[in-house]
C-alpha cells in the first residue's frame, strides 16, 4: 500500500540543475508566489482574485493556474494531498454548478467562462467578455488536476474535470469561420480582434482540437498558422510574438520540446526553441536599448503584458515618452515605454535558466522594491521618477504568480509537463494539430 505522501506521478528530473544557492532562491520565490494563490483564494468556492487589490474580482485563468499549483504544492510538501484534493474539489464543484447561460449575469456560456467573475457569487462582472483564452487556461489547470488526482477515492475530481472539459463547445466559438473568435459578449456577440500571427492561442487550439465532444476541425489550426511569419530578426530566426508571456503561457502546461507541427517541421525548429530564441531576442534588444530606456540591459529585460504607468509623457523632437498603462508590450516592434515585467525573467527559467537567474539576481540587487514579500509586482518602470525609485505596480497579479510557480516547477522537475504529456486530450489535440515526433511518437 502506498504511503499517503507518495505519488504515481513519474515526472522527470530532466530539466536544468541548480546549485544550492540557486535552489534556495528559487524555492523562496516559488513559495512566495504560491502563497499569493493561497492568500487571495476564496476558500468557500475556490475562486482566486485577479489581483491583490481590494475588491478585485476573480480571473478565471488564475483559477487554472491555481489548480495546477495545488498539485505542485502537494509535490513540494507545502500542502497535504487530502487538502489539495479537497480545495480542488471545492473549485471544480463550484465551476460545475455555476450558471451557464446567455444571461449576462451568468458565470459562463457553452462551457466557456467569463474573464472576470464575482469572488463570492461567481457571476460575471465588469460586463467582461466570455473569454476563450482565459477559459483555456482554466481548462489546462482542470486537466492537470484530472491527471494528478488518480487515486480511487479521488474519482470525483477526475469526473468533474472531464465534465468541465467536455462541455465546452469549441465549434460554436468559431462563429462559422475557419479560425476561433476571441470571445463573445451577450450584448454584442462574437469578438474578432484579429489574431494575426503567432501568440498564446497555441494552447487554445490544442485543447479545442483534443475535445472528445466538440472538437475543432483540424483545418482551424492550419488556418490560424497561415498568419505565421518566420523572421530573421536581430540575428535570430523566430516566429515572432512581442509580449514575452505569449511564449510562456502555452508552455506552462504543454511540453513542446522536440515535437513539431507542419510549420515547425518546415522551419526545422519547435515551439520550445522558438521561446528560447524569443528570450534571446529580448536580451539582445535590451542590450541595444534603442529607446534608451533606463535600466535595460543584457541582464535586465522582460517585456510583456502587464501593468504600467499611465503618466503623460511629452513627445520631444521625434522621441516618444508616452506611457501606456496596462498594456501588452513587445519588442522590437513595440510598444515599449520602458516598463518591465519583473516576474518575466524568472518565468523564462525552463527555457533560459542562466539568463533567467542572472536577470532576476540583477533585478533584485538593483531594484529590490519590485519584489515585496519575495513576490514580483506586475510592472516596474525605473524611468518614471517616484519616491519608490521608479514606477511600481500596486500589489500583485495572480497570473504572474501562477506562471512563476509553474515555470520554476517545470524547470526543476518537469512535473506539469509530465502530467499533461499523459493526458489523452492533450495528445489528441497535438496530433490533430499536426504535431509529430519526440514524446508524441
Amino acid at each position: 500500500m502506498r504511503s499517503r505522501r507518495s505519488t504515481r506521478i513519474r515526472h522527470q528530473r530532466t530539466v536544468a540543475t541548480f546549485n544550492a544557492e540557486d535552489e534556495a532562491l528559487l524555492t523562496a520565490l516559488q513559495r512566495a508566489a504560491y502563497e499569493y494563490l493561497v492568500r487571495y483564494r476564496n476558500p468557500g468556492n475556490g475562486l482566486v482574485a485577479d489581483t491583490s487589490r481590494p475588491g478585485a474580482p476573480c480571473s478565471i485563468a488564475v483559477v487554472g493556474f491555481a489548480l495546477s499549483c495545488w498539485v505542485i504544492a502537494c509535490e513540494r510538501g507545502w500542502l497535504p494531498r487530502t487538502q489539495a484534493a479537497q480545495q480542488t474539489l471545492i473549485s471544480l464543484r463550484f465551476l460545475l454548478a455555476s450558471r451557464q447561460s446567455d444571461d449576462p449575469q451568468a458565470s459562463g456560456y457553452r462551457g466557456f467562462y467569463y474573464h472576470f467573475l464575482d469572488m463570492q457569487s461567481g457571476a460575471r462582472v465588469w460586463n467582461c467578455e466570455l473569454s476563450l483564452i482565459d477559459t483555456t487556461l482554466l481548462l489546462a489547470g482542470v486537466l492537470t488536476v484530472g491527471r494528478y488526482f488518480d487515486r480511487p477515492h479521488e474519482a470525483e475530481i477526475r469526473d468533474a474535470a472531464e465534465a468541465l472539459y467536455q462541455r465546452v463547445d469549441w465549434c460554436w466559438a468559431q462563429d462559422n469561420a475557419p479560425t476561433l473568435s476571441q470571445g463573445w459578449m451577450p450584448e454584442f456577440g462574437f469578438l474578432h480582434y484579429g489574431w494575426e500571427g503567432y501568440n498564446e492561442a497555441l494552447i487554445l487550439y490544442v485543447l479545442g482540437l483534443g475535445s472528445p465532444t466538440h472538437a475543432l476541425p483540424a483545418n482551424s489550426f492550419t488556418s490560424w498558422t497561415l498568419t505565421y511569419q518566420w523572421e530573421r530578426l536581430l540575428g535570430f530566426d523566430v516566429l515572432y510574438s512581442g509580449p514575452l508571456f505569449t511564449h510562456l503561457f502555452p508552455h506552462a502546461w504543454l511540453d513542446l520540446r522536440g515535437i513539431r507541427d507542419a510549420f515547425m517541421r518546415e522551419k526545422r525548429s519547435d515551439y520550445y526553441h522558438n521561446s528560447c530564441r524569443s528570450i534571446a531576442l529580448q536580451r539582445e534588444y535590451c542590450e541595444r536599448n534603442p529607446r534608451q530606456q533606463l535600466g535595460y540591459g543584457r541582464d535586465l529585460w522582460g517585456i510583456s503584458a502587464g501593468d504600467g504607468p499611465n503618466v503623460y509623457g511629452v513627445r520631444a523632437f521625434g522621441t516618444d515618452h508616452r506611457h501606456f498603462g496596462y498594456m501588452a508590450r513587445g519588442v522590437p516592434f513595440g510598444p515599449d515605454d520602458g516598463t518591465l515585467c519583473p516576474w518575466a525573467m524568472l518565468a523564462t527559467l525552463p527555457f533560459a535558466p542562466e539568463a533567467a537567474l542572472a536577470g532576476t539576481r540583477q533585478l533584485l540587487a538593483r531594484f529590490p522594491q519590485v519584489c515585496p514579500e519575495q513576490r514580483f509586482v506586475s510592472g516596474f518602470n525605473p524611468g518614471v521618477e517616484t519616491e519608490r525609485g521608479g514606477w511600481l505596480s500596486e500589489g500583485w497579479y495572480g497570473l504572474d504568480q501562477g506562471l512563476v510557480v509553474m515555470a520554476i516547477e517545470n524547470a526543476r522537475s518537469g512535473l506539469i509537463w509530465s502530467l499533461l504529456r499523459d493526458s489523452p486530450h492533450v495528445r489528441r489535440g497535438l496530433k490533430r494539430a499536426g504535431f509529430t515526433g519526440g514524446w508524441l511518437t
Binding site: L226, D237, R277, P290, V314, D422
Partner: protein, 503 residues
C-alpha cells in the same frame, strides 16, 4: 493608322465630318489611365478621341494623390514647427492651428502646375480630339456623347472610381465630406471625425491632426490598413496615437445626427457605445467603379458584383474591341497602376502587344508618418499558396541614418523564398518608404536576389541602407541555438524518479 494634323478641338467638335469618323481609339475618361492611353496612342499615330465631362487629370490630380500629398507636406511642416516651438518654449506655448485657406491655395497652384503637363492645348497638339462630355455606349462599336455618335475600332474605358458612401442613417444630412470634397474645405475643422481606417483615412486623419484639428478615426476592423501586415499596422497606430489622433478600432458607426454645426456619430464596439461629435465628418470607406451612365450592357461589357469592369490579363473586356484601365477595373486603385494599365491597354488595343497587367510588379504606399509601403506577396499570401517563405527584418532603430534623423519608427522586411534568395515581396515602414520600396521593385523586376543586393554599395548614412542590411542578414550564420533541455524520449516517458519533497 495615319497621323492627322492637329487642329483646335472646338472647331473639330463643331465639324460634322469629325463626328462621323471612325476613330482608331476612343478613350473614355481623362484621369491618369485615360491620359496615358490617349497620349501614347496619339504618339503612335492613331486617331484618338478623349471624353471627359469633368476636369482633366481625374481623381489623382484633382482630389487624390496630388492634393493629399501636398496637404501631408504642409502637415509635416506644422508638426516639425510644433516640436521646435516646444523645444524653444518649454512653458507650453503651442503653434496655432493651420490656415487651411492658404494651404488650399497652395494645393490649387500645385494642381494647376501639374495639369499643365496634360493641358487641353497639349493634348490637342498631339492630335487628340477632346470632348468635354460624358460618353455612353450605344452598341458594340459606337458611343454617344451629347447628341453625337462616334464609332471606334478600339476603345479604352478609364472612368476611374468614386468614394463609396456607407449607408449610415442620418449621415446624409450631416456635414460630411469625402476624399473628393475635403480639399475644397477653406476652414480647418476644430474637430474632424474620420470614418474608415484605410490608406486615405489614415493619411488624412494624421494630416489634419498635425494641422491642428482634433481628430477621431473610427475603423470597423481590428487594425488599420487591412491589406498590410500586423506589425506595419500597429506601428502606424502607435504613430497616429502619438500624434494625438483618437483611435477607435473594432468600432462601427451606427447612426449620425446633426445638431447645429455639429454632426454626432453614434459608434459601437464590443464593449461600449460612444458618441463622437465633430464639425466635419470625413467618410473614407473605399471606392467603387464609375460605370454608371456608361450603358456598358449595350456594348456587351460585363461588370463584377462590385461594379468593376471585368477584364482579362490583357485588360480586354468581354467586348473584344473594348479595353479598360485604371480604377474602373483594377483592385489596386493607385495612380501608378492606372498609368501603367492605361499604357498596356493602349498598346494591346492598337498593336496587339499582348502585354499582361498581371506581370506588373505593383508597389503601393500609404503616406503617413511613417510611410507604409509594400510590394509583391504578403507572407500570408505565400503561405496560402504553400510557398515556404522567410522574412529578413531590419528595424529602422538600428539604422544609422534613421537614428541621426530621429526617424526610427519602422522596419524593412524582405520576404524571400525559403532556402533561396529570390525576393517574393517586401514591406517597408519608414519615413521614406515610398522611395525605398522602389529599390525592391527593381530587384524583383530584374530578378536580383539577396546575395547580389548585399553586394550593392549604398550611400552612408542612408535609410535605404536598411535594405542592404536585410540582404546581409541573409548571409549570416544561423543563430546559436540555445542548448535544449533534455527531452524525455517516448520510451522513457514513464520514469520512476520524482521530485524530492521540500519542507
Amino acid at each position: 493608322m495615319t497621323r492627322r494634323p492637329g487642329s483646335p478641338a472646338l472647331r473639330r467638335r463643331l465639324a460634322p465630318a469629325a463626328r462621323t469618323r471612325i476613330h482608331d481609339l476612343l478613350v473614355i475618361g481623362a484621369g491618369p489611365a485615360g491620359l496615358r492611353a490617349a497620349e501614347l496612342a496619339a504618339r503612335l499615330g492613331a486617331s484618338v478621341a478623349l471624353f471627359e465631362p469633368r476636369r482633366l487629370g481625374g481623381t489623382s490630380l484633382n482630389t487624390g494623390s496630388v492634393p493629399s500629398k501636398a496637404l501631408i507636406r504642409s502637415a509635416t511642416l506644422f508638426a516639425a514647427l510644433r516640436e521646435v516651438t516646444r523645444l524653444q518654449h518649454p512653458d507650453g506655448r503651442d503653434v496655432p492651428p493651420a490656415d487651411l485657406q492658404r494651404i488650399a491655395s497652395r494645393l490649387r497652384q500645385i494642381e494647376a502646375r501639374l495639369l499643365g503637363y496634360h493641358s487641353l492645348e497639349r493634348l490637342q497638339r498631339l492630335g487628340i480630339d477632346v470632348y468635354p462630355e460624358a460618353a455612353r455606349f450605344v452598341d458594340a462599336r459606337t458611343v454617344a456623347a451629347g447628341s453625337a455618335r462616334f464609332q471606334f475600332r478600339k476603345a479604352v474605358v478609364a472612368t476611374g472610381a468614386r468614394p463609396t458612401l456607407p449607408g449610415i442613417p442620418g449621415l446624409a444630412e450631416g456635414a460630411y465630406v469625402t476624399s473628393e470634397s475635403i480639399f475644397a474645405l477653406e476652414q480647418l475643422p476644430a474637430r474632424l471625425a474620420v470614418v474608415g481606417g484605410g490608406p486615405l483615412g489614415c493619411e488624412l486623419a494624421q494630416a489634419f491632426c498635425r494641422l491642428g484639428s482634433e481628430v477621431t478615426i473610427i475603423q470597423d476592423e481590428a487594425k488599420f490598413l487591412p491589406r498590410e501586415e500586423r506589425d506595419a499596422a500597429q506601428i502606424l497606430a502607435q504613430s497616429m496615437a502619438r500624434d494625438g489622433v483618437t483611435i477607435f478600432l473594432n468600432t462601427r458607426v451606427t447612426g449620425a445626427r446633426v445638431e447645429g454645426p455639429l454632426t454626432t456619430l453614434e459608434t459601437e464596439n464590443y464593449r461600449t457605445r460612444r458618441p463622437v461629435a465633430a464639425e466635419r465628418v470625413l467618410v473614407s470607406v473605399g471606392r467603387e467603379a464609375n460605370t454608371h451612365g456608361l450603358d456598358l450592357a449595350a456594348a456587351g461589357i460585363a461588370c463584377a458584383a462590385d461594379g468593376a469592369i471585368v477584364v482579362d490579363a490583357y485588360l480586354r473586356t468581354s467586348n473584344p474591341r473594348v479595353y479598360a484601365a485604371g480604377d474602373v477595373c483594377m483592385p489596386h486603385m493607385y495612380t501608378h497602376v492606372a498609368q501603367n494599365t492605361g499604357q498596356i491597354a493602349a498598346l494591346n488595343a492598337l498593336q496587339n502587344a499582348r502585354q499582361r497587367h498581371t506581370d506588373l510588379t505593383i508597389p503601393w504606399c500609404t503616406f503617413c508618418v511613417p510611410e507604409v509601403a509594400h510590394v509583391g506577396l504578403q507572407v500570408w499570401e505565400a503561405r496560402e499558396l504553400s510557398i515556404p517563405i522567410k522574412t529578413y527584418t531590419i528595424m529602422m532603430q538600428d539604422v544609422d541614418r534613421a537614428i541621426t534623423d530621429r526617424q526610427e519608427n519602422g522596419f524593412v522586411k524582405l520576404h524571400v523564398a525559403e532556402g533561396k534568395d529570390r525576393i517574393l515581396g517586401a514591406t517597408i515602414v519608414a519615413s521614406r518608404a515610398s522611395e525605398m520600396i522602389n529599390e525592391i521593385c527593381v530587384a524583383m523586376h530584374t530578378g536580383i536576389g539577396l546575395r547580389a543586393l548585399a553586394r550593392v554599395v549604398h550611400t552612408y548614412p542612408s535609410q535605404s541602407a536598411a535594405i542592404r542590411l536585410a540582404a546581409l542578414s541573409f548571409q549570416e550564420l544561423p543563430d546559436a541555438t540555445p542548448a535544449p533541455l533534455a527531452v524525455p524520449p517516448a520510451s522513457r516517458r514513464r520514469g520512476s524518479r520524482r521530485t524530492r519533497k521540500r519542507p
